[in-house]
């Protein structure tokens, strides 16, 4: 059973540089949320702030009724046991084998016997498809394997919250799909609250229950997947459809002249909203809602062709669901 994370008015600066200001959102318990944003908008900083690795300048992060930003170091270490975090490159301990890496949290925090540890580690390694690689060192395996091993380590203490930093960086599209499927299946199994930080649109469009978009030092929007995918808000629309037309420029915001030059151009229509990625065994997740439910409840007409395929809206490809 996952727990809810309530973030209020969170602000983070490095020196005189503001990373983001006044971020307020609630990650609902047991749901998968994705945090999107152009490169360099502090998505990873946000994730590190959520676990208390970085201290925010203002605001609160409330988990289980405790404000993470005001905890003492010792209490912080306690609360962190709720978290599993998958860092970008897996962040495995280079001097240990994969087995020892995955066993590490168990050996540090539990009084389990080596036999129990072996059973749990084997189970988690199997879950991420790394059986047989237990004896390898992190330096000897590929980036995708490191990531999966990092995931196994993050899962070993049965976390209530799983934070995932750019699962797709350095992975090919097929491996990315596999790891996305793994997240959905995991969510169904352990019911933890998931937060995935990424800028991969395919992931953002199909995996989560909720999407957030960090842009220009603030949270542009956070809400259910269908709300953002059907949104006409320029920033959200530009980012979720990977277009050059819109307020986001190559380096930062576009200036007034650039925007004026674009004003006459017609925006391409919103692509259809794809079906959400389902679990591989077809069992519904607890947090799963029927396709199109949000649109119906809020009187929003989804773009034509929505909820007909599992495809993320890539033009010209249409996989019918039978």
């Amino acid at each position: 059973m996952g727990v809810e994370i309530a973030v209020t008015g969170l602000t983070k600066t490095f020196g005189s540089q503001t990373i983001w200001r006044d971020v307020t959102l609630t990650l609902p318990a047991g749901e998968i949320s994705v945090m999107l944003g152009p490169s360099g908008t502090g998505k990873s900083v946000f994730l590190k702030t959520l676990v208390g690795l970085l201290k925010p300048d203002a605001g609160s992060i409330v988990i289980n009724g405790r404000d993470l930003t005001r905890l003492r170091e010792a209490d912080l270490y306690e609360v962190r046991k709720l978290f599993g975090v998958l860092f970008q490159d897996g962040a495995l301990f280079g001097s240990m084998t994969l087995y020892d890496n995955v066993a590490f949290p168990l050996r540090e925090h539990t009084k389990k016997t080596e036999a129990e540890i072996r059973r749990i580690v084997t189970e988690k390694m199997e879950l991420v498809g790394l059986s047989g690689a237990e004896g390898k060192l992190p330096g000897e395996i590929s980036g995708g394997m490191r990531k999966r091993a990092g995931l196994a380590r993050a899962l070993v203490l049965d976390p209530e919250i799983l934070l995932i930093d750019e699962p797709d960086s350095g992975l090919d599209p097929v491996r990315t799909s596999y790891i996305n499927q793994l997240f959905v299946d995991l969510n169904a199994q352990i019911d933890a609250t998931f937060l995935i930080v990424t800028h991969d649109i395919n992931t953002a469009r199909t995996v989560p229950d909720n999407i957030g978009l960090l842009y220009h030092k603030h949270l542009a929007m956070f809400g259910p997947r269908e709300m953002l995918l059907s949104s006409e808000e320029p920033v959200v629309r530009q980012f979720l459809n990977a277009q050059t037309i819109g307020p986001i420029g190559m380096s930062e915001e576009k200036d007034a002249d650039e925007l004026a030059a674009e004003s006459g151009q017609e925006l391409p229509p919103l692509p259809p909203i794809a079906l959400q990625l389902a679990t591989s065994d077809g069992q519904p997740r607890r947090a799963e809602r029927p396709a199109g439910a949000w649109c119906r409840d809020n009187g929003v007409t989804p773009p034509p062709g929505s909820f007909e395929s599992r495809n993320a809206g890539i033009p010209g490809v249409r996989v019918e669901v039978g």
């Binding site: 590190k48 676990v51 690795l53 170091e73 270490y77 306690e78 962190r80 046991k81 978290f83 975090v85 860092f87 970008q88 490159d89 962040a91 495995l92 301990f93 280079g94 590490f104 949290p105 540090e108 925090h109 990092g150 380590r153 203490l157």
Partner: protein, 256 residues
């Protein structure tokens, strides 16, 4: 002007904060015995050979200088006494400081820095384990232990080197050299040198850990951190060496 000054103050403050954290984490259980032994072995293995190789010429230079000086002053019979005194009191702590900072500290800093940029340190904190207690404390203790042992090594090798150089190369009298051994030097000299080494070991490891854990900006950041850690450690060690020596002369009564 104000910005660099506050930057320096902030850095010094963080360095002391880390030193304090390390100190507070010292009695915490479980003590990382395995890490301590591994690190002590590692630091010893990177420092022993260079230390021995540096202390032989160091002892020889002192013998050469003193041999000439004592002859000019007509006090040849005190060559041994002065040589032992110089090696024991100053040469061995300084050589220890150079090696523990240059070889031991830089290795610690590079190790922790590369772990930092690979996010291993963050991962450790997220897994609910304090990197200070787990990684820094064993390294500081290992560095202190090895520094004390190195100081002993330098003293022995330096004195033997001085003897060999004075007696064989400069044609001094073995009897006079050995007979005057304890004319000036006394036991508190050795203790002071060992205490110096202990403190040097702690400072070198704390600064290396501070710079290593603060590394950022990719592989170049680690290189910069190592560079800065060695420079800062050198400056600190020479200042601390001066202070301890000054205190020593106030506290310990001298022979003759």
């Amino acid at each position: 002007m104000a910005a660099p000054l506050t930057g320096v103050l902030r850095q010094s403050g963080s360095l002391f904060a880390l030193a304090l954290d390390v100190f507070r984490a010292l009695p915490k259980r479980p003590f990382q015995v395995k890490e301590f032994i591994q690190q002590a072995w590692f630091i010893a293995s990177v420092t022993i050979l260079p230390t021995a190789l540096v202390s032989i010429p160091f002892g020889a230079v002192i013998a050469l200088q003193l041999g000439t000086l004592t002859r000019q002053l007509g006090a040849q019979s005190y060559t041994g006494a002065a040589s032992v005194l110089a090696v024991l009191r100053e040469a061995s702590p300084i050589v220890t400081a150079l090696l523990i900072a240059g070889a031991g500290g830089s290795a610690i800093c590079a190790d922790l820095g590369s772990r930092k940029i690979r996010e291993e340190i963050d991962a450790m904190e997220v897994l609910g384990i304090s990197p200070i207690q787990r990684l820094v404390v064993p390294r500081v203790l290992a560095s202190m232990l090895v520094a004390v042992l190195l100081n002993g090594l330098v003293s022995v090798v330096g004195v033997v080197g001085g003897y060999v150089f004075n007696v064989i190369v400069q044609g001094g009298t073995p009897g006079a050299y050995i007979a005057s051994f304890t004319a000036l030097a006394q036991l508190p000299d050795l203790w002071t040198a060992e205490i110096k080494a202990l403190i040097f070991g702690a400072i070198a490891a704390v600064v290396a850990a501070f710079k290593g854990l603060g590394a950022g900006g990719g592989p170049k950041g680690v290189g910069d951190a190592v560079n800065q850690s060695v420079v800062i450690t050198f400056m600190l060690l020479f200042v601390v060496n001066f202070v301890i020596t000054a205190v020593y002369f106030q506290v310990v009564p001298q022979k003759i």
